[in-house]
Amino acid sequence: MKHIINALVENKPGVLAHVAGMFAARSFNIDSLVVGCTEDPKLSRMTIVVVGDDRVVEQVRKQLAKIIPVVKVQDYVGKPVVARNLMLISVAAPPEKRPEILALIEMFRARVVDIGKKSLMIEVSGPESKIEGFIDVCRPYGIKSLARTGTIAMPRRSKAE
């Protein structure tokens, strides 16, 4: 099962190496890992997607918490969260195919961010399933290149604030 693990870490050199090293040393698999700053300049947030049974993920959580510069660890599994990925995808788009592709872009609420003679660069964001879905529909036209981020996530408030 996929777990989104959120780790608040001290914004210090070596923390990413420490976390990555721990995953490698203990043979835990990382699906994706995203690091970025937070509202507090002293802290960074790592969003790590891990696949494994409950026991493995419990160990991941505990071993993460043991790392001294890791301040807080949360497993979002079973909690209502907003989870998003971002993708840039360059698709072969000869003039005759462009209307079709533009329709797809509309459907996926994606955006064209660059136009070439034979291709379009498209920006898509959303949950992982949507990103995968968009890749699938682009495949028949020919994907020239693709870059995507891992997942970032934030829990939903139980009531509107």
Binding site: V9, G21, A25, K62, A65, K66, I68, V70
Partner: protein, 576 residues
């Protein structure tokens, strides 16, 4: 301007400004450090200069690995933080084995390493190594100080992290420009560790649940590890075992936490543990683990480990709980407080049936060796040492067969009496560890029960012992082989002794050349006298016992087998 010069003239104000190296030494002294192990080198010259007159007992090993083991054993023997200082590059790299050894056994240590100037870092400078990168997996925490303002706080944090919670080695990397940078020291720096939270007090409801489970158990076993020694909870453990009428088995790291001369002691469990401990664990209906971590050398085949038992696990490290086995009642916290509460809550239960069963196993399968053997059996040497020291020596070991025999034929009765590399199994640990232990306990009789090839790995530390006139005793159980490897080759590789036999030097002559006392013992009849002579020495003494070469350690749980599937039991039965 006037003001400034008057300030400079005041010695009190002037003395507050000091170089980083002085900050380090002063902070160590403020933290109560009186003993430091260290080996000098280019980038730690400023630091070592400040030790020239510092009121600190400074021990220089012959190799950084040896120094690291000394600091480690100093910590194991005293309960204090062991300190090792090394230079950059090769010095720091030589610490790796020692740090990993301390990490696996949760030993509080602080390693300080020199580093090249901050502006050279990353340039492949002379004697540069990515020390924090190399040592990250073998330390509880490590960091590099890049700003003199962080120096004092970082040293204090290193001590705090090393010695609290589940202890472990912490390394601080010190670029040489930080050692010479000047800073005005104010009041002691405050720790800034937002990510380091300790859970020391056990959850009251979990403790109550554990007590109820213990009272209800018909066949309980206390399974005790090094955590009880770290937590200084031997007294509380003894009370719990007494109040609850419970048998106690120990891991290698737990030896000393419970008096093995007591009737309810089952001695060590596991691969080379006692048959009675292993049978008891496999038959138990409740296993109470305290400060132990269900290591594979303890459990044997995990899927058939303690199949009838509910499991209580008391540990300060939440990550240890349910890592290897499913735990029914976890209690996270410091063993001392938890055991104290538990000892009050449990009630005395009549377990005569269970103890009768245990007594039967004990009678049938005690540790034994062939008394009639004409050559010197290694077990006999240890047995004789036990008698001659009345069980009171501090025993240190290398790793291998001799280490296992030291757990089987010497009975320990107090914490910190047995010092051995458990988790990492580091050959060569014995001699430097004996030095560290003797420095921590000058009055103790420190005996290194060693193997010939374990001893070979670090024997260059003998001059360190001679230099400091440490009365350590080294007993080499010399069979010419890497004994444990040979045993496995005999049992599992058709006696093909591939690369496990090496030519040894004459250890008595080596010892004498290095300024120690050396003896060789070739006949069984000479063993008691040799041990007496050895114990009477006031200088380091090495005794080379030429033991029977192909003796095996029994019983043995082969890898992958259950704890109760031990080999060698018929042999033990025949020997009684």
């Amino acid at each position: 301007m006037k003001n400034k010069s008057s300030q400079a003239a005041s010695p009190a104000a002037k003395s507050l400004v000091k170089p980083g190296a002085q900050v380090i030494v002063d902070t160590l002294i403020d933290l109560g450090v009186d003993t430091v192990f260290g080996y000098t080198g280019g980038v730690v010259l400023p630091l070592f200069d400040k030790f020239y007159e510092a009121p600190i007992n400074f021990i220089v090993p012959r190799h950084e690995q040896g120094g690291c083991h000394m600091a480690d054993a100093y910590a194991r023997a005293s309960g204090k933080v062991g300190i090792m200082i090394a230079t950059s590059g090769p010095g720091a790299c030589n610490l790796v084995t020692g740090l990993a050894t301390a990490m696996m056994d949760s030993i509080p240590m602080v390693a300080l390493t020199g580093q090249v100037r901050t502006d050279l870092i990353g340039n492949d400078a002379f004697q540069e190594a990515d020390t924090t990168g190399i040592t990250r997996p073998v330390t509880k925490h490590n960091c590099i100080v890049k700003d003199i303002k962080d120096l004092e706080r970082t040293i204090r944090e290193a001590f705090h992290i090393a010695s609290t919670g589940r202890p472990g080695p912490v390394l601080v990397d010190l670029p040489v420009d930080i050692e010479v940078a000047l800073i005005d020291m104010g009041s002691p720096a405050k720790l800034e560790l937002p990510g380091y939270k300790l859970r020391t007090k056990g959850h009251a409801r979990q403790i109550e649940m554990a007590a109820r489970a213990i009272d209800q158990a018909k066949r309980p076993v206390l399974y005790v590890g090094g955590g009880v020694i770290i937590s200084n909870a031997a007294q509380e453990l003894a009370s719990l075992a007494k109040n609850g009428n419970l048998p106690v088995t120990l891991t290698l790291m737990g030896l000393g936490s419970f008096d093995q001369t007591q009737d309810n002691s089952l001695d060590m469990l596991g691969m080379h543990g006692s048959a009675y401990a292993n049978y008891a664990v496999q038959e138990s209906d409740l296993l109470i683990s305290i400060g132990a971590r269900f290591d594979d050398r303890v459990t044997g085949n995990l899927s058939t480990f303690a199949p009838k038992a509910k499991i209580i696990h008391i540990d300060i490290d939440p990550a240890s709980i349910s890592k290897n086995v499913h735990v029914d009642i976890p209690v996270v916290g410091d063993a001392k407080g938890i055991l104290k509460s538990l000892a009050k809550l449990v009630t005395h239960q009549d377990r005569s049936e269970w103890f009768a069963q245990i007594a039967q196993w004990k009678e049938k399968y005690p540790f034994a060796y062939n008394q009639k053997e004409e050559g010197i059996l290694p077990q006999y040497v240890i047995d004789e040492l036990y008698r001659k020291t009345k069980g009171q020596a501090t025993v240190v070991t290398g790793v291998g067969q001799h280490q296992m025999w030291a757990t089987q034929f010497y009975k320990y009765s107090r914490p910190r009496q047995f010092i051995s590399s458990g988790g990492l199994g580091t050959m060569g640990f014995g001699l430097p560890a004996a030095i560290g232990a003797q420095i921590a306990k000058p009055e103790a009789v420190v005996v290194d029960i060693d193997g010939d090839h374990s001893f070979n790995m670090t024997l260059m530390e003998l001059p360190t012992a001679v230099e400091h006139q440490l009365p350590i005793k080294v007993m080499i159980l010399n069979n010419g082989y890497m004994g444990m490897v040979r045993q496995w080759q005999e049992l599992f590789y058709g006696k093909r002794y591939s690369k496990s036999y090496l030519k040894n030097p004459d250890y008595a002559k080596v010892a004498e050349a290095m300024g120690a006392v050396g003896m060789t013992v070739q006949s069984k009849a000479d063993v008691p006298q040799a041990i007496e002579t050895m114990l009477a020495q006031t200088n380091p003494c090495v005794v080379d016992f030429r033991v029977v070469a192909e003796e095996n350690v029994w019983p043995m749980v082969p890898t992958g087998k259950s704890l109760n599937e031990m080999d060698g039991l018929e042999l033990l039965e025949r020997l009684i």
